[in-house]
């Protein structure tokens, strides 16, 4: 067999490659965060941001990073927290769950951050949950999720199912009919969400005429379209928990098959302003989405925030719910630290976080004992410019229920971290 690369040749190419990599390293972006001088050095507070900056989820998560960075910039410009500037360390989870866990360990053990803001998918959150629990550290998580979890070490500022899915189902039952077809991507969030919806419909008098899942990223939705037409020949409600690319295929082919929003209204829980731009506005006009925040919410705080965001990242950019949750959670954490006095005293910060209120772009939000926030629920209809007309909103803020009250296994359970006797999962009737 031919030896291929001779030893001398190998040495040559090897040293050339090594030299180049050294040069490239020297030329690396001087603005990139360095890890030198780990630990609290007194005049700054280190905070970690852990999101996917590459891979499938980068599309969504980079916008959340921008919102978190904006909040941190604002806080620093206004004198920091307790007179200390925030020093950000950004890590890339690369849409890969083991990487998320690894980077979380690095942020806590090596960099010595006081808090981590991060994660989007439930899979990534579950991957880092152990890391935060074994080290008794602190994660703030900004995205709506399927619930059925309540960790002492995580603060959730997205919607729990009773703050998004359940009101959406109720609104559809009241306004759009009682025959539901459930469409979702094949992973934990859609399947759990649809379990909740099925229990809720059974309790409230609706029916599920069909349920279908496609693999994440798949674009072949022809069989689903055919099944919907079969199950709902005269129209009906479609509840959509598809994520990412599949949405484009789904809405394109719905339109191609002549299924208009009047006969087949689609309620999505993973499609916000950012996604509307990517999927294509003309495919979505007339369809619905349920969130706590829309860019069109009319509050003075929202006006200021949208303006600040566009000034920072471009006039053509839009804001959405996960970004708003990410933005407000940095402020909630700041308030908790100010009350606790020391950002690195995590026990005190955790205790101080409960009960914190903040006038967020979406309105007033309050952190509950179960580490989730009370917030408004809104339903929006996509309009021609890609933003949402808010067609319905709750009268008041909805208190979060991490354990779902429709699903038999978790019915009657609650979560309370302010009382050591109760903890993450206790029976409400025994309390």
């Amino acid at each position: 067999m031919n030896k291929g690369l001779g030893r001398r040749k190998f040495l040559w190419y090897g040293s050339a490659a090594f030299g180049t990599s050294l040069i490239l390293k020297a030329c690396a972006d001087p603005n990139s965060p360095t890890t030198a001088g780990a630990g609290a050095n007194g005049d700054t507070i280190k905070v970690g941001i852990l999101h996917s900056l590459s891979g499938t989820m980068a599309i969504s998560e980079t916008t959340v990073v921008e919102a978190e960075q904006l909040a941190i910039q604002e806080i620093n410009a206004n004198g920091g927290v307790n007179g200390k500037q925030l020093e950000v360390i950004v890590e890339d989870g690369a849409s890969d769950w083991p990487t998320f866990a690894e980077k979380a360990e690095k942020l806590i053990d090596q960099d010595g951050v006081a808090v981590v803001f991060g994660c989007w998918t439930s899979a990534s959150r579950q991957a880092v949950k152990d890391v935060f629990e074994t080290r008794d550290h602190m994660l703030w998580y900004p995205v709506q999720y399927e619930g059925q979890e309540c960790s002492k070490n995580i603060f959730y500022t997205g919607a729990a199912p009773n703050q998004q899915i359940e009101p959406a189902v109720q609104w559809l039952l009241d306004n759009k009919g009682d025959e539901f077809f459930l469409v979702g991507s094949d992973y934990v969030f859609p399947r759990t969400a649809n379990t909740i919806i099925k229990e809720q419909l059974a309790a409230e008098g609706g029916t599920v005429v069909g349920e279908d899942y496609i693999p994440l990223g798949s674009t072949e939705v022809t069989p689903i379209i055919a099944r919907i037409q079969q199950a709902l020949p005269d129209g009906g409600v479609i509840f959509n928990t598809l994520n990412g690319d599949s949405n484009v295929a789904f809405f394109t082919q719905m339109q191609g098959a002549g299924m208009d929003p009047e006969r087949y209204p689609v309620m999505s829980v993973s499609v916000a302003e950012e996604e509307v731009q990517q999927i294509g506005v003309d495919l979505l006009v007339g369809h619905y989405a349920a969130w706590n925040y829309f860019q069109t919410v009319e509050t003075p705080e929202n006006e200021t925030w949208v303006e600040a965001f566009k000034a920072e990242y471009g006039q053509d950019r839009v804001t959405n719910d996960p970004m708003e949750s990410a933005y407000l959670m940095v402020y909630l954490w700041k308030q908790a630290v100010e009350q606790a006095g020391d950002a690195y005293d995590l026990e005190a910060v955790r205790a101080a976080a409960i009960g914190q209120s903040f006038q967020a772009p979406q309105g007033l939000v309050t952190m509950n004992e179960n580490h989730h926030i009370s917030q408004m629920v809104r339903i929006g209809q996509v309009r021609d410019d890609g933003l949402f007309d808010i067609v319905w909103a709750t009268d008041d803020r909805v208190d979060p229920e991490p354990w779902n009250q429709y699903v038999p296994e978790t019915q009657g359970y609650g979560c309370d971290w302010s009382d050591p006797n109760k903890g993450g999962r206790f029976r409400l009737d025994e309390a």
Binding site: W12, A16, P223, A226, V248, T252, Q278
Partner: protein
């Protein structure tokens, strides 16, 4: 009756998407024996080319419907872009690896990663840096090649030129990072929206159903590609040369056929077809860096089931997989058995697989079972030659 027609249409629709995506791969795999894992990324390049053409037409459109014609221009552009990328890939990487399937596999996988990251981060800065590097390195090599003692100094030249030109390009790029206009990514990691032309948006009314025009367009496009390939291989001079090189490389070379050019041409043709497939799939979904990954497994399935190097096999395989995916996933097959009393258990079994995810599982299981019976596909290769 109408339902049956709609079912057949939908099945063929899924199959034709698979087929158009697999055509280029089948040619490259069949004629050259190259397993090209970057095929999906060549499709992605075609999709991005379509996106760019679409943007140009959107700017040209003055309300007179010019925009709708972009797809006609996008098809040849996508073909050319991917063909050129394929040509560079063949000349730059693959030609050194002929007859070494494992290395080819790894190298093309690497190329696919590079291409995916390239479209995420490409901007003027990167383009300038790459062009600068190419000019310095390849220009320098070209100058030095004229020296009489070239063979002796080749190793030295590469060892010095490579880091030097990399460093100069890197420093030049770094010096320009302050310029926001140059540093803005062309596409970014986001998925981009290619608008279907208005005349492809509707559908053909058939009773309660509507057959989307975009699907029909893909079916027609697939047929045109097949006819084109058939004509090229059987009626053109280069087609004859390609077939002769595939059958006996040494004899062809003796008879004066430039085998290197034939290799490059074949690979470029396969890549160009990937570009057309990329253009076609923009009618179904959005354009993103990972768009190729969604298709690569399916295309390989088609090629493997069809039998390596046989376009006819690929057609049969794609249609079979498409129709069975549709029949299982939409529950049409389960409904057939529901009407027969004695076969209720079959209907029950099929109903369990009536979901797009589960249908995929079932189809993969069937493919594996099929490959146990016929390991080399529907139409196995006879001897060393590849047939068309």
């Amino acid at each position: 009756m109408i339902e049956l027609a709609v079912g057949i249409f939908n099945g063929i629709g899924i199959g034709s998407v698979l087929l158009i995506a697999a055509l280029g791969l089948a040619i490259v795999f069949g004629l050259m024996g190259v397993i090209n894992l970057a095929h999906g990324e060549l499709m992605m390049l075609g999709a991005y080319a379509t996106f760019v053409v679409q943007n140009v037409f959107r700017d040209l459109d003055a309300g007179d419907g010019v925009f709708g014609l972009y797809i006609i221009v996008a098809l040849p552009v996508a073909f050319l872009v991917s063909a050129i990328a394929g040509l560079i890939l063949e000349r730059g990487v693959i030609r050194f690896l002929y007859g070494r399937p494992l290395e080819t596999l790894l190298a093309t996988w690497g190329v696919s990663l590079i291409l995916r990251q390239l479209v995420r981060s490409v901007n003027w800065l990167l383009t300038i840096a790459i062009l600068l590097f190419c000019a310095l390195f390849f220009g320098g090599m070209w100058l030095l090649r004229r020296r009489p003692n070239w063979e002796g100094m080749k190793g030295w030249a590469i060892a010095i030129l490579l880091p030097l030109s990399l460093a100069i390009a890197g420093v030049a790029g770094w010096a320009m990072t302050g310029n926001a206009a140059l540093a803005r990514p062309w596409f970014g990691p986001r998925n981009l929206d290619v608008r279907t032309p208005p005349w492809l948006r509707g559908g053909f009314e058939l009773g309660a159903y509507r057959l989307p025009y975009s699907r029909m367009f893909i079916i027609v496009l697939t047929i045109l590609c097949l006819v084109g390939i058939y004509w090229f291989f059987n009626r053109s001079d280069w087609g004859l040369r390609i077939r002769s090189v595939t059958q006996n490389r040494n004899m062809s070379a003796c008879l004066g056929i430039p085998t290197g050019t034939v290799d490059a041409l074949t690979f470029a043709l396969g890549s160009g077809l990937a570009g057309i497939a990329g253009c076609a799939i923009t009618l179904l979904g959005s354009v993103g860096p990972n768009v190729g990954q969604n298709y690569i497994v399916d295309t390989f399935m088609v090629v493997v089931v069809g039998g390596v190097g046989n376009i006819f096999g690929a057609i049969i395989a794609a249609l079979t997989i498409g129709v069975s995916t549709y029949l299982l996933g939409s529950g049409a097959l389960a409904r057939v058995f529901e009407d027969i009393n004695s076969l209720q258990f079959v209907a029950e079994f099929l109903r369990f697989f009536t979901s797009t995810s589960m249908a995929r599982v079932m189809v993969f299981a069937l493919i594996i079972a099929f490959l146990q019976v016929k390991p080399s596909g529907i139409f196995p290769q006879k001897g060393r030659t590849a047939e068309l």
